[in-house]
Every structure is written in C-alpha cells, then in structure tokens.
C-alpha cells in the first residue's frame, strides 16, 4: 500500500509568544516535527510493507526528515499562504496527496499543536479519518486494522479504502536517524510544489481568528488522604479517567 506521511506541518505551541493580553505571535518560529511525527512515520513504514512511503511537508529547513526515516521521496509544498491558516494548509496538503496516484493511507501526527489541519485535510480529501491511532496493520486479506486509544479504552477498527490516520505517540522515538542516514536521505528525490499551484484561487480558505484568551483554570479535585489506600485508589482512578495512565 502506498503511504503518505505528513511531517513538519505545525509549530510547537511552546515556542509561541503569549502576551499579557493573551495575544499570540510566532516571531521566528519555524514548523517543526512534533513528538507524534516519528510515530506516524514508524507505523507508515510498517504498514507499507515494502511499498512506497512518500514524505509530505510544508516545512522549510531540513526537508529530508521523512527520507531519513524510510520515505523513498519527499514532496515539499512551498509558499503555503499563512502558516497559521489551518484550512489552507489542510487544502494544500490534500491536493498534494490527490496528485499522487494510488495512495492507500495518509498518516499524520495527531498533534495537539493544531487539530484543525487534520480535519481540513480529511475533509478536503473526503476520506474517513481516525484520530488517536497508536497502531495499524494490514491483515492477510488486505484489511486495514487500526488501533486507537479513547481515554482508558483501546478500540480496534477495520478500515477500508483510502483513509487518514492521525497517530498519537506513546513513547519517544527509539531509532533516531544517525548522521549517515541523514546524509543519505538528502540524496533522495525531493519535489517542490508551490502552494499556489495546489490551491483554488477562487476559494477563500482563510480561518479567521476572532481572538485568544487564557484558558480557564480547571477546578482542582482534592482527594482526602485520611485513608492512604482509598486515596491511592481514587488517584489512580482519576488519572485513568483523565487518560494520563
């Protein structure tokens, strides 16, 4: 199955500058690979089972990130109109995928950095999307089985046809490419496509931000420590409900 992996498509919110009035700006901040990107890449390589894996990015700088992790080639979308515009980013990525024939799945980091891009990407492609993916495999019959995590529950879904899988990392990247892999990756083909050639000029993609505000402070839940055993049980139950463990 031909797989596309989207990487370096968002900026790390920890790099954002948040002013006292909650206004957000991104001076000099570049698109970066999120913690989920390596997990998406890892699943993609396993799922492809020797078929082609294509890296797709809108980032600049080192675009050989996916190639160093097993992608055969990379497509770089340049000049995305407004990196903060999730709708335009999703549309440009979708059109780039559409131009690659025979794609069975698009894998993308299920990053909390910008959920809207994933929705826009799946919506523009018109493909089903599964979020919170932790594993995926093809059965012998060619059926795609996708494992996702929903709070404390693990769900295994059967998916047919081309699909967008938003992958959540459960651990740090194990096999970070070494220098030689990165150098070899830079020799792999990389095709640049201007976003202007992908986007329909007649469509207004712009996502308009109405404003930003600091999040409400969630109410604290106090667990009575009088009985240590009960307190521990309550703490563990609460952490499970919140999806921490």
């Amino acid at each position: 199955m031909k797989i596309v992996v989207v990487f370096k498509w968002a900026r790390n919110p920890l790099d954002a500058r948040v002013s006292a009035d909650a206004a957000v700006s991104w001076p000099g901040v570049k698109l970066a690979a999120s913690d989920d990107d390596p997990a998406a890449m890892e699943i993609a390589v396993a799922l492809a089972a020797g078929d082609e894996v294509v890296g797709l990015t809108i980032g600049d700088g080192d675009t050989a990130w996916a190639a160093a992790r097993g992608a055969a080639r990379t497509v770089v979308v340049t000049g995305t109109p407004g990196e903060a515009d999730s709708a335009a980013t999703g549309a440009a990525l979708a059109e780039a995928v559409r131009r690659m024939a025979g794609v069975g799945a698009v894998l993308i980091g299920d990053s909390a950095w910008d959920y809207a891009v994933i929705s826009a990407l799946a919506g523009r492609l018109g493909w089903p999307a599964v979020a919170g993916v932790t594993a995926a495999a093809c059965s012998e019959q060619g059926e795609l089985r996708v494992t996702r995590r929903l709070g404390a529950a693990i769900q295994v879904l059967a998916a047919a046809g081309p699909v967008v899988l938003a992958v959540t990392a459960s651990r740090a990247e194990k096999n970070v490419p070494g220098m030689k892999e990165v150098l070899a990756a830079r020799k792999k083909p990389a095709e640049k496509i201007a976003a202007a050639d992908l986007l329909d000029a007649a469509i207004a993609y712009r996502v308009q931000t109405q404003g930003t505000r600091f999040p409400d402070t969630p109410p604290a839940r106090v667990i009575d420590g009088g009985d240590p055993r009960t307190a521990c049980e309550q703490l563990i139950a609460a952490l499970r409900v919140e999806g921490v463990i």
Binding site: R17, S19, A20, P27, G28, K30, A32, G61, D62, V176, G178, M179, K180, E181, V182, L183, R186
Partner: protein, 435 residues
C-alpha cells in the same frame, strides 16, 4: 608518524559548531571547492546562541563581502557609553560620533537571526549543514584526528575544526586545554526587551538605524567583578549582566537576582519602561584574554573562535565575534593550503596560530594582555564609581558654601573614600598600560 592522509574520507573538513567562527570557516573552505560538513547541536543555527550583541564587524567584509548590506544587522553603533553606576547615581563617559555611522565598525545583532543567515550563506556556497547533531567525540588514529562520532555514527574528514564554543568539549577531549579556572570565566545573564522602534530612538537619542551601546560597571553587579551591558536593536534592547564566576561563587549572590536588580535600577529601568520581555537566558563567557591562550592545533584538528579562548574585554569594548571571524579566516586559509598539499600534520596546521599572530586577532590579544588582570581589581566595581560620583557631586552641588578647585574636590572625595591616593594613581597608570 605519517600524518599525510591518503584514505578516502566522508568530507574534506568537518566543522563542529555553526556560530560565527564555524560558519565563516565552513563558508570560506566551501568557496575553495572543498567538501565541508557543518554540524550544529541546536535544532537550527542560532537557536542555542545568546550573545550580548555588539559585533565589531569590519572583518566580515573580507570574510563575506557585502555583509553589511545583506546580513540581518540590527543597528549601526554610533554612540558608546561607559557608565559608572552606584546605587543612586551614575557618571557616564558618553561618546557619539557621526564618523562611526560612515565607517560602520560595530553593529548590534541578534544571534538567532545572524547565525541562521550565516548558515544559509554556507549552504549556498555548498556546505552540508546538519543541525540537531551533538558531536560526542573526536575520532583519532595514530595521534591524528580523523573524524567525529555522534550518536552511534562516525564520519571521517581530513581536518576537523572545533568551533564548539567557550566550553569546548572537543578541545578538552583532544587534550588541547583543561578546565578553565573560574576567574577566566563569567556568566552572562541577558534579557531582550521589546520596545517600539520610535521609543528606542527617542530614549537613546538615535535616528535611522543608528544605535547605542552601554558598558556599565559598579552597582549593576553589586560590586562584583563583571559589568552590565545595554545595546539597542531595531525594536528591542539587549540588556544584562556579566559576572565573573570566582567573585560570584565567593559572594553567594544569585546571577538571576543580580540581573533582575540591574534591570530595576532607576538608571536602567527608565530605558526599559513599558517594554515586553522577549527572551531571557544565560551563557558562559570567556574573560581570561591571552591568559586563556592554549594550543590551537593538533594533527587533523584546528580550534577557532570562543573554543580557542579568543575573547577580549577591555572595559570599553567586549569582543568575541570579530575575533571569531578573524580566527576563522586564518584557519580557513591554512586548512585550504593543507588540503591542497594533502598534509594535515601538526607542522602543517601550526601555520594557523602563526597566521593569527600576524593579524589583528593575535596582535590585539597581546596588546590587551594586561586587561584581564587590571579588571580583576575589585575597586573597579564599586569604589571608583562612587569616587567619581562624589567628585561630580562636589562640582554640581552648589549649596552656597564657597567652591574649591577641582583638585581639592578630588582630594576631599578621596579622603572620604576607602581609596588611598597612591594605590589609586598606581591603578590609573596600570589602567593606561592595560587598556
């Protein structure tokens, strides 16, 4: 020992560290047609860098012609102010000169932008840039450095250039230098404060892209060895303190608290008022001058920039970036010759320190060799500032009592200070000789 490499290598040269020294070395060698790998431990060049920000940049016109026109410089420094600060006063030596706008020898820079630009020039020249790689060790064979090890990977080169900063682990590993004594090192704590361009120009009496640089001694460090600095960028100010580690350790003071104290001093606060904190961080600074000099070569290894101990604090000017670029130029010339001859021996690479001695880098290090010792004088950081303040108070405090000549006023101020006349004169003479 045969140190003439004949085996195939991954690159002609590997440069570790994409600061000014590393980038200029890589750029010059790539222009000569050599294959160069530039590795940087930060996710991008400049991302790990923190500099006070005045670059005496004339040398860059030789290193990268057209630098002034195309590099992301902030302001051309046309006003230099040396300020003696006490708790409630300051005495400034304030020098502004239109000629400095014409000659452009100093500019303020933000290293995150500058280093990224330098790396981009390198890539255009053909350098292979690899960020996010921390060099763990040098590879040596038969006493010659033959490459680097990072993660589980090894890459080989005819020559490795160590440009990995003041705390160069590669130099230590190569036995080029040991740990520096604390008095040779300082910690710089810096903030970048955002302000509208118009506000900066009004507060510092500037126009266009002209800029000001303040060097401050005294109360900014609570009388500890070191000083304060305040530089104007286009739409921000770089401000902070540099604290000599031996004094800081002895005092038990906190560097962060001293930084905050300086920024809230009335003399500083008035410049920063209404500003927004954009960046905050700290960095190790070399202060030892020529006393930090050490071997700069090993077979297959050349050391440049801060890693070579090339920094110079004269009290008036704090230099490092220009010396880094100068050392890079010298190193690139020598490495180019070595590559063309295929000789990477100690003898061949020792042409580099000799070249440094011929140019402004080595000569200035020698000229100001006494500066660090002079600046160790504890009176510099408190008593002399207060003495100056008392003298000026006597001059301007016309309280209807009869005035005395300046010399008598100086004598009175000296009597009331812990300073004695003879040691003060001795210090003045030492200062003239050192600076």
């Amino acid at each position: 020992m045969d140190t003439t490499a004949t085996a195939e290598v991954d690159f002609d040269v590997i440069v570790a560290g994409a600061g000014i020294a590393g980038s200029v070395t890589a750029y010059r060698l790539a222009l000569q047609g050599h294959s160069v790998l530039l590795v940087e431990r930060g996710p991008s060049p400049g991302s790990k860098n923190l500099s006070g920000g005045v670059f005496y940049c004339r040398v860059m016109e030789e290193a990268m012609p057209g630098f002034l026109l195309s590099a992301p410089i902030e302001r051309r420094i046309t006003r230099n102010c040396l300020s003696f600060l006490s708790a409630s006063s300051f005495v400034n030596l304030d020098y502004a000169d239109d000629r400095l706008a014409q000659s452009v020898t100093a500019v303020s820079v933000l290293r995150a932008k500058l280093d990224e630009w330098l790396a981009a020039q390198c890539e255009e020249a053909g350098v292979m840039l690899m960020p996010g790689v921390r060099v763990d060790a040098l590879i040596t064979e038969d006493g010659r450095v033959t490459g680097i090890r990072a993660g589980g990977d090894e890459l080989s080169a005819h020559v490795v250039v160590a440009a990995d900063g003041v705390n160069s682990l590669l130099c230590r590993q190569a036995g080029v230098r040991g740990p520096e004594p604390l008095k040779h090192l300082a910690v710089g704590v810096k903030s970048v404060i955002g302000l509208p361009r118009r506000v900066i120009e009004e507060r510092f009496n500037l126009s266009g892209d002209n800029g000001a640089a303040y060097a401050i001694v005294g109360d900014c460090t609570k009388d500890l060895g070191g000083g304060g600095f305040l530089y104007t960028n286009l739409e921000s100010l770089s401000v902070g303190v540099v604290l000599r580690l031996d004094d800081l350790a002895r005092s038990g003071e906190s560097s962060a608290e001293l930084h905050d104290r300086f920024l809230t001093h009335p003399a500083t606060e008035s410049f920063l008022r209404g500003g927004e904190l954009l960046e905050y961080g700290c960095h190790l600074v070399a202060e030892g001058g020529l006393a930090m000099a050490h071997d700069l070569t090993r077979p297959g290894l050349v050391v440049v920039g801060d890693a070579a101990g090339l920094t110079l604090n004269t009290g008036f000017t704090v230099r490092g970036m220009d010396l880094a670029a100068g050392s890079a130029l010298a190193a690139a010339g020598v490495v180019d010759s070595a590559l063309k001859r295929g000789d990477y021996s100690q003898e061949a690479l020792d042409a580099y320190p000799r070249e440094l001695d011929k140019i402004f880098v080595g000569q200035d290090m020698r000229t100001f060799r006494r500066a660090p010792l002079f600046l160790e004088n504890p009176h510099m950081y408190g008593d002399y500032g207060r003495l100056l303040s008392d003298i000026m108070y006597g001059v301007y405090n016309l309280d209807t009592t009869p005035r005395r000549h300046l010399a008598a006023g100086v004598g009175d101020a000296l009597k009331n200070s812990p300073l004695a006349l003879l040691p003060t004169v001795r210090d003045a003479l030492a200062g003239v000789r050192a600076l």
